[in-house]
């Protein structure tokens, strides 16, 4: 299915006002929200793996506002890390003291946010590409870093994103070493990278990778490089289920 067809068949990112019911269609995923009573809404989501999520949402009025937006690819199959391992389909060769700027497709997930008093609260997340949402290890089993792993292809520009599946990220690579280097992967914490969307397309803040010498060791220093765009910035998905505790009483 071409990107144009995907855009026309599926719901777009953005804010939705629900007075009675709303159905969001995404690739192999259906989200249904409907009013079930006075100041009460139900939320239903079914994905391609057969997983069903149902929630009741008490509201302050008979209207409810939500936002659907791209989020960082850290939640499926479970949140275990803040790092991402991007393996390029083609290696990039950089001669000594040179730099290159590339666009790559970076996996994304989709977040559903509840808007209350202009605040965005995390309601649900989903992935439209569960088969390719997997983990990878950078380093040795005892001291390595667990990452979300993705084999990525090069993109032409910021408009080349795959709706609901991949956003576009700009990576600047600088080789300050005195020998040529081949770069085939980047590993970085994606928790500092914001996402932006327009219709069904998305972009992420980029990264700047500097290959340099520290003492006698060659290292790759990775810094976040904010993207300049007038697209809408996505809210940050926060898992609110992990930090809730219940105090039963005193001893």
């Amino acid at each position: 299915m071409s990107n144009e067809n995907v855009e026309s068949n599926y719901s777009k990112y953005g804010e939705y006002l629900i007075t009675d019911h709303l159905e969001l269609n995404l690739p192999e995923i259906v989200v249904k929200i409907q009013r079930v009573g006075e100041h009460a809404f139900s939320y239903f989501r079914q994905d391609s793996e057969g997983n069903i999520v149902e929630k009741m949402i008490p509201a302050k009025s008979n209207e409810m506002k939500i936002e659907m937006a791209p989020i960082r690819p850290l939640n499926h199959p479970a949140r275990r890390t803040g790092y991402v391992f991007l393996k390029f389909d083609k290696e990039i060769y950089l001669s000594q003291n040179s730099a290159a700027s590339i666009f790559v497709h970076c996996p994304i997930e989709v977040g559903i946010f509840l808007i209350q008093d202009s605040k965005r609260e995390s309601l649900d997340w989903l992935t439209c590409n569960p088969v390719n949402s997997r983990f990878g290890l950078y380093g040795s089993p005892d001291t390595g870093t667990l990452c979300k792993y993705a084999e990525v292809t090069l993109a032409t520009d910021f408009s080349d994103s795959v709706p609901y599946v991949e956003g576009v990220m700009k990576i600047i690579i600088e080789n300050n070493l005195d020998s040529g280097q081949t770069v085939s992967k980047v590993i970085f914490p994606i928790t500092d990278n914001s996402l932006y969307y327009e219709d069904s397309k998305s972009v992420l803040d980029g990264i700047k990778v500097t290959l340099k010498k520290r003492a006698v060791v060659s290292i790759a220093d990775v810094q976040t490089d904010s993207v300049r765009t007038d697209w809408t910035k996505s809210p940050t998905w926060e898992d609110s289920t992990t930090n809730t505790s219940m105090e039963m009483g005193l001893e």
Binding site: H76, P77, A78, R80, F85, K87, P130, V131, S133, R134, F135, G136, L137, Y138, G139, P141, D142, T143, G144, T145, L146, Y149, L250, E251
Partner: protein
């Protein structure tokens, strides 16, 4: 009788060697107050300060606070009674030898507990295995004399610190990732490469917690009596053992079924000598 006269009466009632009922009553009040203060101090510590500390450290600090206050109360009690323990020192030498033999294992457990707290071979909440005792589970705490482990069946087992300290302890949560393994046999007339490709594809599709890097590994382990035995090794995040090991064989079986590859039964060819 006024209360003052009542107390005077108590102070004149001597029990033994100058110890009166009144002084014993005051001592009792000091000890009771000490225990109450110790409990309150421990409760305040656990409620406001312990959540910011590691659980092992918090438990040990809690014990030090509780028993420290009780010990101070005991000294206050003995000094209020004017008790002199110097006479015990002479008899104590002989008595200590007797007590030493009798409480050898208790002291051994105590010292092992101290060494366990210093060395920290595992910490509270770690999943560990003690192969010598065939025990696996989550370490609940390392106490003064014993340690407690919650086994995977939900029961809690208490292990004396001496045995725990001298045993081999295998930590299952110290590494970032762990490996799950399974062995499967395929028929001799099936293609090994086809079987491996089928298993690899099925793992990739239906086991989301299996790591892509390092890739699943396949080793032809044995040319057995009835089958070619292949060992399958996959890596997964350390906390997701239950999403890998228990379903690995099911996934392999499903992959081989889909690919039409036979898992042979053990078979033996018997030749009749007359033939």
């Amino acid at each position: 009788m006024t209360p003052i006269e009542f107390l005077q009466g108590l102070s004149e009632m001597e029990i033994v060697g100058g110890l009166t009922v009144l002084s014993l009553l005051i001592g009792g009040i000091i000890m009771a107050a000490g225990i109450i203060v110790a409990k309150i101090a421990k409760m305040i510590f656990f409620k406001y300060y312990a959540p910011t500390l590691p659980q092992d450290t918090a438990k040990n600090f809690g014990k030090i606070i509780y028993f420290g206050i009780i010990l101070i109360s005991f000294f206050a009690f003995t000094s209020s009674q004017g008790l002199d323990f110097s006479g015990l020192l002479v008899a104590g030498g002989i008595f200590a030898v007797v007590i030493g033999f009798a409480t050898q294992s208790v002291v051994s457990n105590l010292i092992s507990g101290v060494f366990l707290m210093i060395e920290k071979p595992a910490k509270h909440g770690d999943t560990i295995q003690i192969p010598d005792m065939s025990i696996s589970g989550t370490l609940l705490d390392i106490g003064t004399f014993s340690s407690r482990i919650r086994k995977f069946d939900g029961t809690v087992i208490r292990i004396p610190n001496e045995k725990f300290f001298t045993s081999n302890i295998r930590s299952l949560t110290v590494s970032t990732v762990r490996r799950a393994e399974a062995m499967v046999g395929i028929a001799y007339n099936d293609d090994i490469e086809t079987a491996i490709s089928a298993i690899k594809a099925e793992i990739r599709l239906s086991m989301p917690f299996v790591l892509r890097i390092p890739e699943p590994e396949f080793r032809v382990e044995e040319l057995g009596d009835s089958s070619v035995n292949i060992q399958v090794l996959v890596w997964h995040p350390r906390d997701d053992w239950s999403q890998a090991q228990p379903i690995l064989l099911t996934t392999i079986k499903r992959a081989l079924d889909k690919a039409g590859i036979e898992i042979p039964f053990p078979q033996r060819v018997i030749w009749d000598a007359k033939d």
